[in-house]
Structure formats: structure tokens, C-alpha cells
């Protein structure tokens, strides 16, 4: 396994890389060094615009450029993209179904020391309720790069969620095939399934190893596209394992857990347990300590898997 790389790093590199291949325009709101869009800015200064500290305006500007036929990336922290600029995203981008790709970095609690105001735990829930919006939350640097290209090729708005913290690289770039809207089964197993997204995918793989010692064979599924969600892979997991646990660095309300529970409840009801931040605000701290404190570790997944298996209809 390679070094830890933050998905935001991969995002910035991907923009610079794909800037050669596609005529994309990139916007940022005075955070280009943090969102990593500065890599694009250096290479394609004529196609980079700084909107200044004015996220709402940036989203509507992006819409205006996209209305002229261009693919536009608008970047800022997830909190401001999904929070402050929500209405601009909904009305200027989602409603007219424009080709704006929202590159939201610093999502989740692992922003760390900046604390609760900067730790966006609501964005998946917010974004997936906007019609036309595709929501992607990559698990590692390889998936992040692939997601950027998939977003460029997709006709319509896309919300891309990236993290600040370096995370292990799970995928092999030469083998990896990203399909928008398709989940990825990373490990087979028939006693229960963990459906994870973002940096929790790595924790899910660790949970599988831990449960192996207890004789529990855990299926591990990576959902990079939360909307449209891969119903097929979820229903199959429900049928074949009978117990599902979701894992995400997001409020347990409204995010992946909710999306999976909706599919399961409507199509093949089996117990669903959710790992996520339990409807609380975060706080300042080291990312690893926060993940521990807010229950976002392999250990928490293991506990929920045991609970879910107990609830299985015998």
C-alpha cells in the first residue's frame, strides 16, 4: 500500500492533468492553496478565476460560464459549497442542470483543528436532495482522480467531496475502472455487508480482518457515487448477507446510511445499522483523535456488524 494521500491533493493534480485534455474552467474562492486548485492555476492561468471570498457569487458565476457551453469546476470548502452557497447551487446550477462540477474539499470531521464551523457533516444529505445533482465521495487518491474525469464527462452538475487528511491508497490506478453510479465490491462475504464511503472504506477493510477472527465473513462494498446510488449492489448484499452496516464520515442523518436504508427498506428489508457522526457537531482536535471520539473507526464498524447480525431474522 502506498503512502497516505489526501483526496484533495488528487483533485488538484487531476484538474491540472485533465486541463490539457478538456477545456475546463476552474473557479476558487480564495482557497486555491488549500483546495489544491492552485496546481491548475499555475498551468492554465487564463482558465482560472478567483472569485474571492464570495462563495455564493462564485456558484452563480460558474453557472453563467457553464451556460455558455463550458465545463466549470467551482471549488471551496464543503461547508461553504454546500452550506453557504446552497441556494445558488440549487437554483443557479441544479435547476438549470448546468455543467458545474463542485469540488468541495475539507469535508468531514477530519478537517481537525479548525473545529465545528469548518467540519461539514451535512453536505451529502444536502446535495443528494437537489434534483439533477450527482454526488461523489471518493475513497482514495486513485478514485478521486477517476471521479474528476467521470464528472467532466457527465453532462450535468456533480458534487465531488474531498478530504483534507491523507488517507491510504486502496486502489491500483492501472487496474481501476470508475463507473459513475456503480458500487465496488472490494471483498466478498456472506454473513453481513458493510457499505462504506470515503475514508471509511479503509476502516471497513480493517473491520473485515478483525471479524475474520470471530468467524464472521464480512462483505465490503465501496460506494463512491452516493447519488445516483447503486441499488443493485445494495439489494444483492441485503439478499445474500441479511445484515447491512453503513459507514461514512458524515452525520448519520441524510447521508450514505440514509440512502442505503431507503433502498433496503423499499426493496428487501433487512437490518441496517449506521456508523457515522451521531447527529452532533464536531470540535477541534487531531483528525485521528476525532475519528476515535466520534465513533468512526474499524472498531465501531465491528460493533455495529455484531449488532446487525443479532437482528437478522432467523
Amino acid at each position: 500500500m502506498a503512502d497516505n494521500i489526501a483526496t484533495r491533493e488528487a483533485y488538484g493534480k487531476a484538474l491540472a492533468e485533465f486541463g490539457d485534455k478538456y477545456e475546463i474552467v476552474v473557479l476558487d474562492a480564495d482557497l486555491s492553496k488549500s483546495t489544491k486548485t492552485d496546481t491548475f492555476k499555475k498551468k492554465f492561468p487564463e482558465r482560472f478565476l478567483n472569485a474571492g471570498i464570495a462563495e455564493s457569487n462564485m456558484m452563480s458565476i460558474a453557472a453563467g460560464i457553464a451556460s455558455c457551453g463550458k465545463v466549470v469546476f467551482a471549488s471551496t470548502f464543503a461547508m461553504f459549497a454546500a452550506g453557504r452557497a446552497f441556494e445558488q447551487v440549487r437554483n443557479s446550477i441544479g435547476y438549470p442542470n448546468l455543467n458545474v462540477k463542485i469540488g468541495a474539499t475539507h469535508a468531514g470531521i477530519t478537517v481537525g483543528e479548525d473545529g465545528a464551523t469548518h467540519q461539514c457533516l451535512e453536505d451529502i444529505g444536502i446535495m443528494r436532495t437537489i434534483p439533477n445533482m450527482v454526488v461523489i465521495n471518493p475513497a482514495d487518491a486513485v478514485e478521486a482522480r477517476a471521479a474528476v474525469e467521470a464528472a467532466i464527462k457527465h453532462n450535468g452538475p456533480v458534487y465531488l467531496r474531498f478530504g483534507r487528511l491523507g488517507v491510504p491508497v486502496i486502489f491500483d490506478e492501472s487496474q481501476y475502472n470508475f463507473e459513475l453510479g456503480r458500487g465496488v465490491m472490494l471483498a466478498d462475504g456472506n454473513d453481513a455487508a458493510v457499505i462504506a464511503t470515503g475514508l471509511m472504506v479503509h476502516e471497513a477493510l480493517k473491520a473485515k480482518e478483525e471479524l475474520k477472527n470471530e468467524g464472521i465473513d464480512l462483505r465490503v462494498i465501496n460506494i463512491h457515487t452516493i447519488k445516483p446510488i447503486d441499488k443493485e449492489i445494495i439489494i444483492k448484499a441485503a439478499k445474500e448477507t441479511g445484515a447491512i452496516v453503513t459507514a461514512e464520515e458524515h452525520n448519520i442523518l441524510g447521508g450514505l446510511g440514509s440512502a442505503v436504508a431507503e433502498v433496503v427498506a423499499e426493496s428487501y428489508p433487512v437490518p441496517v445499522k449506521r456508523v457515522g457522526v451521531e447527529d452532533k457537531f464536531g470540535r477541534s482536535g487531531k483528525p485521528a483523535a476525532l475519528l476515535e471520539m466520534y465513533g468512526l473507526t474499524a472498531k465501531n464498524i465491528v460493533e455495529k456488524v455484531r449488532e446487525a447480525i443479532k437482528l437478522k431474522v432467523k
Partner: protein, 281 residues
Amino acid sequence: MEQGKIKDLLITATKIRKHSIEAVYSASSGHPGGSLSIADVLSVLYFDLMKVDANNPKWEDRDRLVLSKGHCSPALYGALAEKGFFSKDLIKTFRHIDSILQGHPDMKCVPGVDMSTGSLGQGISAACGMAVNAKIFDKNYRVYAIVGDGELEEGQVWEAAMFAAHYKLDNLTAFIDFNGLQIDGHVSEVMSPMPIDEKFAAFGWNVIKINGHDIEEIKNAAVKAAQVKGKPTAIIATTIKGKGVSFMENQASWHGSAPNKEQYEQAIKELDAYLESLGVK
């Protein structure tokens, strides 16, 4: 401008007013006041200045218009219908469930609508996006935005104003429809954005003040705006809310209410009388 042309544009503006009244009456809802106030500006833009093609609404090099005060869609629809973007018969379907003419403009289904608007403050930003796109990709179309004076209370307008000046968007002209009224009353009493001219000037814009019902002044201001290099232009157009219909003029209550049958007939009668004075039977 020659007298014949002025007359033609006044006739078209009056037709836009009639369409606006027709639309709001047919829907039993909508925004007549601000629609009537911008009819002259729309007439000059669509029938004298803007480079558009009704047969090719998505033409890449067309001039663009963003109705940032999207609630005044009846006037925009009236102008587009007169220009031939869609049948005038559609005006009567305004706000109906099976119509393309939504309460606020939808670029996805109405030919000639360049941006979906309705949420105040967002349209002028989108217009900046279109204008900056021309700068990046070396296009020479112009972008017009029509912004309400009450709309200036939205902070995003000033974010856009900053952006436009910073990126020297001299291909952008914003018409400020300065009719002095918003839903809750006088703009100056609800939340005054005054002085509008000094604010835009302080934000780095070229500012021109005109009578928004004087065809020649509208035209001359827009032409001058196009000659200014290095900065966007705000044309502060003093208008009368409800212009052309006596009982609607300068009444905040007509911001967002529909006429009853009697009021509708009276409004059409007044507008027809004006058309007749211009020689239209």
C-alpha cells in the same frame, strides 16, 4: 434615433405591456408592476440592440440577457414572443401547469431565456459568468442584466459588482430598474440601497443615469456603455412601477397581484388607447 424607429420601439414596448397584463390576468397571479416598468428597456434591447436569432436561440455568439429580477418574467416572455422565439398564443398559458412559461424564467424550456432566474441576486452573478466567459474565450458578444432596485439589497449583487469590476467586464451592462418600490413598500423605507449611483461607482463601475421610459436615452446609454473600456456599466433607469396602466402606476400593491376582469379590461383599454395614439389600430 429617427422618429419612426422610436415610435416602433414604443409600440413594441406597449405590446410587451399588453402581454404582461394578459399573462398575469390569465394566471390570476404574477408580477405586473415591475414588468410594466422594464418594457421600454426590453423593447430597445431586443428590437434595436441585441444580436439574437429567434430561429437559433442557443446561437453561441448571441448577445445575452439575464433577467435578474426574474419575477418580471411576463415582460421578458412578452418581448421574446414579439421577437418570434415562441408563439404569442403561449402568453395566455403563463403559470399554467402544462405551460413552458413558468412563473419565473426557466432556460431549459423557454427558447430565448438565457438563464433561469427568480432567486434575487443570482442573475447578475450569472451574467458576470457569461461576460467573463467571453473574455476567456475571446468572444465578442455582450451581456445585459436587468436588476431591480429592491434586489440591490441582496449582498450577492455587490459580490457580483466587485467581480465584474475586478475582471474588467466591459462587455457587461446592468440596467437597474429604479422604480422605487418593492413588495413591502418604498425601497427607501424597507432597506435603502441608496445612493445607488455612488455605490456602483465606488465598486468600479461606469454609471449612467437615465429616464427608463425614454427610448432614446435607453439606446444612447447602452451604446455609450458598449464604448467604455475596462469597466462594466450600470445604467440606472428611473422608471414608474406599473407604467402605462393608470391605476397600477407607483403602487407597491401591484408588485405581485393580478387584476380582476374589470381591472384587466381597463388596463388593456388604456394600453390600446396609447397604441392608437401611436397610429396602431
